[in-house]
Amino acid sequence: MSLFSDFCSVVAQQPDTTAVVEDQRAISFRELAQLADKVAAGLLHAGLQPGDRLAIHLGNRLELVALYYACLDIGAVMVPINQRLIAREIEHLLHHSGARYYVGDQETYSRYAAVIAGSATLERAWIVAGEEARQEERCLPWSALLVAAPGKRPPAHAEWLAAIFYTSGTTGIAKGVVHSQASLLQIVGLMEAMMPPRTAQGVLGTGAVHSMLDVIVPWSILMTLAAHRLGRAVVLLPVVTAETTLALLQRLPLSFLKGAPSHFKNLLAAGEASSATPLPSLTSTYSVSGGDLCPPALGRHWRNLWGGALRGSYGLTESGPIFCQPDVAATEQSSIGWPLPGVELQQTETGELLIRSPANALGLWNGQDVDRLPAARWMATGDLVQRQDDGSYLIIGREKDILKCDAYSISPVEVEQALLKLPDIAEAVVFGVPDPIIGERPVALLRTTNGKELPAQRLKQHLGALIAEYKHPRQYLFVERIPLSAAGKVSRKQLANEYREIIGAALSS
């Protein structure tokens, strides 16, 4: 059993049902399989061997989904590159993953052509919707990938590497989480458990699934693969906003809607502001919030407007979704609900949650190969939890420093290191302040060498060349001295707690 063979079974069982809806275009499982087949043949023709990395740098479009299956078919390792990353970050991922191949679209390519051209490992790049683009030896239009005659597939292996998902590390350097085909299948199995369940008679709710996160984000990839295993269609919107999602809800019944708490909050506001009556009912849609803690109040507002529960999921890139909260409005404090079967838990003395998932990732990418980690390892979540009598878990704090902003993880260390590259900055500490809309707002506390403030525009320009915009601090506070904790250390947690006093003491804010 593999994700690809499961996909082929679904294609055989329901070839003519819709697999992907891309805005106004819909294609069937058969058509998707045919496209994936052509892509796989093209990649093999270009010399791809199992284990070779393929960097994927695409917006929400059909070709992205076909690429997932082509990779699974021939043992290519997908390296998704988020479109929000900037040149320097893309360069790092290409270099670190040692990608031999690249698929981008016209938009990404026109912005980052120099990065692609400058890569020492890339042998070939294909550009979607870039037909007028150059016909060089190394960089070809997408159509050139689809013309190869079907080639012989290498025999599939469950231990083939399947994906490297880069995620914010605590050290400030993105770490590459490696999944094998076998662990990816397990993680997709957990994602399936978050969806309206399969019954012995068949699948409940055949409505399509949609993610308000970009489709290239690992959670959306898992959602896409899980939905197809259940025979459901996946909707891709070229531009995902609360308004385009609302318009989608009005034209298509969904069985599953995924997003970060901020997405659900914005969708709620768009629904309230909408003049369309009646609003579509979401009583039979699983609306699943993930990526960050979902406040219970949001769940209550959600139910009032849409008539259905807002659900919560909790997990790590290394483990997959491992907790399910069927109704985030059911508790006063934020609760992550119940662990899924097969998930094992422990708590440290400080209350930090340690988990052992049936879908533990294979290991971390070291630049050349996988540093394999024991399959039965315990993983620290960085979250402080409290078990309730009914077996569910409340989150009572966060142990580690990673910020959650719009469901994106931001490493404060990475932002600090970027700030310190500016010679005028002597000290920098970045911490998160709770924010009602985006979860946490990154705030930078700065001490400059000459004691003078730096204009925000200058900082923005400086950071713009180093890190993606979503990582930029939303506020800069200039101080004469960075406050230390009783232990003489910089404590981001303490700074966050003392935020109001710090604003008062800052040179200005």
Binding site: T199, A200, G337, W338, L340, G342, A359
Partner: protein, 83 residues
């Protein structure tokens, strides 16, 4: 082994194709560690039990405590049938 436990074992062996022979299944053994059930297997077991026993297993009950062993799952199903 009671009837419910026997039915669960039937599902594990006949529908989920676990590798442990029927005679070797310990009713108190952990479904994941001892019987090798994976994340897909748990969802399948849930669906098959709902069908076989005519009950609905809510998300709150689809957890490691109830799905620890054949025995704990049987206890859950008895409680659900009594509802």
């Amino acid at each position: 082994m009671n009837e419910i436990e026997k039915t669960i074992v039937d599902i594990l062996v006949d529908d989920l194709f676990i590798s442990t022979p029927r005679a070797d299944i310990d009713l108190n053994a952990n479904l994941r560690n001892a019987l090798g059930l994976d994340s897909l297997g748990f969802s399948e077991l849930r669906a098959q039990c709902e069908y076989a026993f005519g009950v609905k297993i809510e998300d709150e009950d689809f957890n490691p405590q109830h799905f620890d062993s054949v025995h704990t799952l049987a206890q859950l199903l008895i409680a659900l049938q009594a509802k």
